[in-house]
């Protein structure tokens, strides 16, 4: 069984069309309080669009997303997003970028300062408070992006391929950092990635999208206990889950959900 308690996010029969082109349809799953759900699928399957619908940046063509019981229309309070290309405002310093969510909520610079300072420490950006994004490496920029998301103390965190624009080494480091940070402040999280290893490492459950238009092929339980660290990658469990997800994503036509290893299933969708 999965971790967590009540349903925080419910994606219900979600469908998105651009013109006559159906990107995905019939996508239904839940994310519970304090649970990380990874979403994987081949590129172009609409993962990012799914996320944008989930946080109210795009309108679904059918179905709905409910966060805390409320149907999402515009970006709701308490939801933060981390973007693939970091989405830092290049004309703002690291401090001002991290404080952005607080600023637009009417907090003064002085009120925000201690909170921002603590976050800068948490993500390891001390000494770069006054730097502009162009002066930072990609990894450091995404650390700032993560801090900005955490600043509003979100109860829902959505990550849109947050490490995809980074080099492999930086990606490994940041994955572990995120796991570490995650253990201290839990929120319901949707984590979109095209890296299967990353999906397994980060997720409590994995939603696998495939097909054209895409839909959910399977939802699997990762079942690796938290807190997790690098050693999780070496576990037998990690290998089994990763192999199944890999075959599913790579469009193994003969693969059916019946082939799912016995304890990888355990799917629970509440209706």
């Amino acid at each position: 069984m999965t971790s967590g308690g009540d349903t925080k996010i419910r994606v219900d029969g979600l469908e998105k069309r651009f013109g006559d082109r159906v990107v995905f349809s019939g996508v239904t799953f839940d994310v519970h309080e304090g649970e990380v759900v990874s979403i994987v699928g081949p590129s172009g399957c609409g993962k990012t669009t799914l996320l944008r619908c989930a946080v109210g940046l795009a309108r679904p063509s059918g179905g709905e997303v409910r966060i805390g019981g409320e149907t999402v229309v515009d970006p709701p309070e308490g939801v933060a997003m981390v973007f693939q290309h970091f989405g830092l405002f290049p004309w703002k310093t690291v401090t001002a970028n991290i404080a952005y969510g607080l600023t637009v909520r009417g907090m003064s610079r002085r009120e925000a300062a201690p909170k921002v300072a603590a976050l800068i420490k948490l993500v390891g950006l001390e000494g770069f408070e006054k730097s502009y994004p162009y002066q930072l490496s990609g990894g450091m920029q995404q650390r700032a992006g993560l801090a900005r998301a955490l600043a509003i103390e979100p109860s829902v965190l959505v990550m849109d391929e947050p490490f995809a624009a980074l080099d492999a080494q930086t990606r490994d480091v940041l994955q572990l950092e995120l796991l570490r940070i995650w253990d201290t402040r839990q929120a319901a999280m949707m984590f979109v990635t095209h890296s299967i290893d990353e999906a397994v490492l980060m997720g409590d459950r994995i939603v696998i999208l495939r097909g054209r238009p895409s839909s959910i092929f399977d939802i699997v339980d990762v079942g690796i206990p938290r807190p997790r660290d690098r050693s999780a990658v070496d576990s037998e469990r990690f290998r089994v889950v990763r192999d199944y997800v890999w075959r599913a994503v790579m469009q193994d036509a003969e693969l059916t959900t019946a082939e799912r290893p016995a304890d990888v299933g355990a799917i629970r969708v509440n209706h």
């Binding site: 940046l57 970006p75 933060a80 989405g87 405002f89 703002k92 637009v104 909520r105 502009y132 162009y134």
Partner: protein, 257 residues
């Protein structure tokens, strides 16, 4: 070692500048001394004529008249250009409808309109302002539009995702992103506006810097023409320096800002 190389390089750069100025001045002096005073005068004669023009108040008065219309015209061009530029950038319908006409008007030699404006508005301050606005308006408009149109959608997503109000989106995203582009437009407009100022001085008034040049040419007073031209050149350089400063100030967040 490296610092030595750098200083030597810097020395060479400065030697180039200083040498260039000295070379130009010497050439000016020599050519001026070889030719009749009607054709060309030495730099010394030009500077002493400049001193006279300043002392007897002719040049300051002309400067003041010209710059009154320049400042008013530039202010109008700036505000109008930025406003229309933002409007065209953020409203696709208007952009589709009017873009070809903006481009065509930008290509129109505005001096050709001066006789029409003279017939319609007559001599004087406001017709000069109109000419300067016509000259200076389009670079601001086009650069502002180009800027505001190229804001990355991800940054707009970020702003929305963090529940920014419409005003917050403008204050934190659209305006800071567009300002460097606007400033590029301002720099171009400062130069074009100056052309408009001289042209309107020529044809739309009997005072100002341009008129000073025309009357001097009618008297074959080359020294005065050179002195006034030198003044205009210095003004042009100062305005460009200001424009460039503003541009780099508002673009300091860009790579190499």
């Amino acid at each position: 070692m490296t610092t030595q190389v750098i200083t030597r390089h810097r020395l060479r750069v400065w030697a180039g500048y200083v040498g260039g100025v000295v070379l130009g001045a010497v050439a000016w002096q020599l050519i001026g001394m070889q030719t009749s005073s009607q054709t060309f005068v030495p730099i010394t004669a030009t500077l002493s004529r400049l001193g006279q023009l300043i002392a007897d108040g002719t040049l300051p008065a002309a400067l003041w008249t010209s710059f009154q219309s320049y400042l008013v015209g530039m202010a109008i061009a700036l505000v109008l250009g930025a406003f229309v530029g933002l409007l065209l950038a953020r409203r696709r319908l208007l952009r589709t409808a009017f873009e070809p006409y903006v481009v065509a008007l930008y290509a129109t030699p505005m001096v050709g309109l001066i006789p029409f404006l003279l017939a319609l508005l007559g001599f004087g301050f406001w017709s000069k302002v109109v000419v300067i606005v016509l000259f200076a308006f389009f670079p601001v408009l086009l650069n502002t539009q180009r800027g505001a149109q190229s804001i990355s959608p991800e940054l707009l997503d970020v702003a929305r995702c963090y529940r920014s109000s419409e005003w917050d989106v403008w204050r934190h995203v659209i305006i800071p992103y567009t300002l460097p582009f606007l400033m590029t437009g301002v720099r171009q407009s400062l130069a074009r506006g100056l052309v408009g100022m001289i042209a309107s001085d020529y044809f739309l008034s009997s005072d100002g810097l341009g008129s000073l040049l025309i009357t001097a040419s009618e008297r074959f007073d080359t020294a005065e023409m050179l002195a006034v031209t030198l003044t205009i050149t210095v003004i042009g350089l100062i305005l460009m320096a200001i424009g460039r400063l503003a541009e780099s100030y508002f673009a300091r967040w860009r790579v190499g800002g």
